[in-house]
C-alpha cells in the first residue's frame, strides 16, 4: 500500500491550475489576511468574500463539494471559541442552565463567535484550493520567490521527497503490529496488555522509524556527496511572471483591498 493519498494535489485542466504558483501563493495569503483584517460582524464583506472563494472553487474545477467537505475538517477547533458566546457583554439572547450556573448568551457574543467561525472557514477553503491546484515543486518555487531562506526551502523539499517513503515505512510498522496482535471483538474493546505496554510498543515503533530515517539520511547524503553536493543549495533562476500573472495578481489584490475597506465602511 502506498500513502500517496496524502498528496492533496488534484490535476485538472483549469484556469486556476494554470496560474503562476507565485501569484496563487501571494493571493492566498492576501485572501487570508483580508479575512483576518475584516472587523467582526461585517456580514456584507463576509458574503462577498465567500462569493469570491466560491467563484475560485468553481473555476478550479476541483468540485465545490470536495473543497467544502475538506474545509469541514477544520471545524472542531471552533470549540475553542465557544466561550465568547457567553463572556462578551451585550444584550442577552438566551440563558442556558448548567447545574448551578446560568450561562447567558449575548448578541455581541454570538456575532463574535459566528465571525470567528466564518473567517476560519473562508481561510481554510482558500488554503485547500492552493494545495489542491498546485503541485508541491511549484509551491517550493513560490516559497523561493517570497524570499524564504534557501536552506529552509531545501529542507522542506527533501522532506516532501521522503515523506511518502517514510509514511509507507510507518504504515508497514503499523501493519506489522496489527499482524502480530489479536483483533478486538467488538472493535474498540480493550485488548492486549496495559496502556503502558501498548505505549512502549508504539515507542519502539517510533524508535525504529527514527533509526531507519537516520540510516536513510546517511545514504542520501552519501549519494548526494558522490554527485558533487558541497552543502550549497543551487537552484535554477526563477522564470519571469507572465503579464497574465501580473494582471491576476493586481486584480486580486485590488479586489481584496476594496473588500476590506468596504467591510469597514459597511460594517
Amino acid at each position: 500500500m502506498h500513502v500517496h493519498f496524502l498528496d492533496p494535489y488534484r490535476p485538472r485542466p483549469s484556469l486556476i491550475h494554470g496560474l503562476d504558483p507565485r501569484v496563487k501563493f501571494v493571493l492566498t495569503l492576501a485572501f487570508i489576511l483580508a479575512a483576518a483584517l475584516l472587523p467582526p460582524a461585517a456580514w456584507p464583506a463576509y458574503i462577498l468574500l465567500f462569493a469570491l472563494a466560491f467563484s475560485v472553487e468553481i473555476l478550479s474545477e476541483l468540485g465545490v463539494g470536495y473543497v467544502l467537505k475538506r474545509a469541514a475538517l477544520a471545524v472542531p477547533f471552533v470549540l475553542a471559541a465557544l466561550p465568547v458566546l457567553f463572556t462578551i457583554k451585550g444584550a442577552p439572547l438566551a440563558t442556558l442552565p448548567l447545574g448551578s450556573w446560568r450561562l447567558t448568551m449575548t448578541d455581541a457574543g454570538l456575532a463574535r463567535f459566528v465571525s470567528i467561525a466564518a473567517k476560519s472557514w473562508l481561510s481554510v477553503q482558500m488554503a485547500i484550493v492552493l494545495a489542491a491546484t498546485t503541485p508541491f515543486p511549484e509551491l517550493l518555487l513560490a516559497m523561493r520567490a517570497v524570499k524564504i531562506p534557501r536552506l529552509i526551502v531545501a529542507i522542506v523539499g527533501l522532506m516532501w521527497r521522503y515523506l511518502f517513503v517514510l509514511a509507507d515505512e510507518a504504515v508497514r510498522l503499523i501493519r506489522a503490529r496489527e499482524a502480530r496482535s489479536g483483533h478486538p471483538d467488538p472493535p474498540g474493546a480493550r485488548v492486549g496488555g496495559s496502556v503502558f505496554w501498548r505505549a512502549r510498543v508504539t515507542g519502539g515503533m517510533a524508535g525504529n522509524l527514527f533509526l531507519r530515517s537516520f540510516d536513510r539520511a546517511d545514504r542520501i547524503y552519501a549519494a548526494m556527496a558522490s554527485r558533487g553536493y558541497d552543502g550549497e543549495v543551487r537552484t535554477l533562476p526563477l522564470p519571469p511572471v507572465t503579464p497574465v500573472g501580473w494582471a491576476a495578481l493586481g486584480l486580486g489584490l485590488v479586489t481584496l483591498g476594496v473588500l476590506v475597506v468596504s467591510g469597514y465602511l459597511l460594517g
Partner: protein
C-alpha cells in the same frame, strides 16, 4: 485516514492580525538564528539529515496506540527530535513539519503559522531541551536519567506549548483566559502523558540498539541560549497562565492599558468609526446587496466556466 491533526494547530481566523504578526516576527528571528547555529554544527550534512528527519517526524505522528474507548495517544515529536538532534536542528525540523502541515494539509492556518511554529517549534523544543539537559545533569548521565528526562521533556514541552497557545487565543479575544488556559492545559496534560510514554519507548529502543545516536545527539549540543530560553519560557508561561486564568480581567486590563486589545481586535476599527457609505443607511440593506452581488458573481463565474469547458476539446 491515518493522518490525524493534533489539537494544537491554530487555524486561521482565531488569532488577531496583531498577535499573528508578532508571533511571525519572533518565529522568523529564532528560525534565522537556528539556521546559523545548525549550519555550524552539521555543515553540509544539514539539508539531507533534516529533510529526512522532518519527514520521519511527520510519519511518526501517524503512529498511535489506543488508550480507552476511542481515544488514542500519539506523537508530536518535539522532544524526541530535540534529544536526538540538539535544539537548533530540532527547531528547523519542527518548523518544516508544522509548515508543511499548514501549507499542504491545512492543519493549522497560514497567517497563524508563525504562532504554530512558535508553540510547537520554538517553545516545544527549548522547553524540552532545558528539561532534558537539566535532568541529565542532575542524574549525572545514569541510564534512567535518559528515560526520566525524556518523559519530563516530552510532557512539559506539550503542556507549556498548550499554555502559550491558550494565551495567544486569549490575547486575540477569541477565548477568555479563564476558560482557554484550564481547557487547553488540561487536555494537553493528558496528551502529554501519551507523548511522554512514546518518547520513553523510543528512547528505550534506541538506547538498546544504537546507544551512539543518543551520544552523538549529546555531542552536538552547544545550546546555552536554548537552555536559558527554555527555562525563561517555561517559568514565564507557568507563572503567567494561572494568573491570567484567575484574573482574566487582569490580562485584559494590561492589554487595554497598552491599547493592545483595541489594536488586536480590529486595527482600522477606531480610525473609521460609525461611518456608513453614503446612500446605504442600514447594515441590513448592505447585507442584502452584498448577497445579491455575491450570487450574481458566482452565477456569472459558473456560467463562464461551463461555457469554457464546453468549448474545450474533451480532456483526458
Amino acid at each position: 485516514m491515518l493522518y490525524k491533526p493534533a489539537p494544537m494547530h491554530i487555524p486561521d481566523g482565531f488569532l488577531s492580525v496583531t498577535v499573528s504578526i508578532i508571533m511571525w516576527a519572533i518565529s522568523l528571528a529564532v528560525v534565522g538564528y537556528a539556521l546559523k547555529r545548525a549550519n555550524r554544527d552539521l555543515g553540509e550534512r544539514q539539508a539531507p539529515l533534516m529533510g529526512v528527519l522532518a519527514a520521519c517526524i511527520f510519519a511518526g505522528q501517524m503512529l498511535n496506540f489506543s488508550v480507552t474507548g476511542g481515544t488514542s495517544g500519539h506523537l508530536v515529536g518535539a522532544a524526541i527530535a530535540t534529544i536526538l538532534l540538539g535544539p537548533w536542528a530540532a527547531i528547523l525540523v519542527m518548523t518544516s513539519v508544522v509548515g508543511v502541515q499548514a501549507l499542504v494539509f491545512q492543519d493549522g492556518g497560514l497567517l497563524a503559522l508563525g504562532a504554530n511554529i512558535f508553540n510547537m517549534g520554538v517553545i516545544g523544543v527549548t522547553v524540552a531541551y532545558f528539561t532534558y539537559q537539566t535532568i541529565q545533569k542532575l542524574t549525572r548521565g545514569r541510564r534512567w536519567g535518559v528515560f526520566a528526562g525524556g518523559f519530563a521533556a516530552a510532557w512539559l514541552s506539550i503542556f507549556i506549548a498548550s499554555l502559550a497557545c491558550a494565551l495567544q487565543l486569549a490575547l486575540s479575544g477569541t477565548s477568555p483566559a479563564n476558560v482557554a488556559v484550564p481547557a487547553m492545559g488540561g487536555i494537553h496534560a493528558l496528551i502529554g502523558i501519551g507523548e511522554g510514554l512514546i518518547t520513553v519507548g523510543a528512547l528505550a529502543f534506541l538506547s538498546a540498539t544504537r546507544r551512539d545516536l543518543l551520544q552523538t545527539g549529546a555531542a552536538q549540543r552547544t545550546g546555552g541560549p536554548a537552555w536559558a530560553a527554555g527555562l525563561v519560557i517555561a517559568l514565564a508561561l507557568a507563572a503567567i497562565s494561572p494568573l491570567a486564568s484567575a484574573h482574566p480581567d487582569g490580562l485584559e486590563w494590561v492589554a487595554e492599558q497598552k491599547g493592545f486589545l483595541d489594536i488586536a481586535r480590529g486595527p482600522l476599527y477606531q480610525i473609521i468609526p460609525d461611518y456608513a457609505l453614503p446612500g446605504i443607511s442600514s447594515q441590513a440593506l448592505a447585507t442584502i446587496l452584498a448577497g445579491i452581488l455575491g450570487a450574481l458573481l458566482v452565477f456569472g463565474v459558473a456560467l463562464g466556466a461551463a461555457y469554457a469547458r464546453r468549448k474545450r476539446p474533451a480532456s483526458p
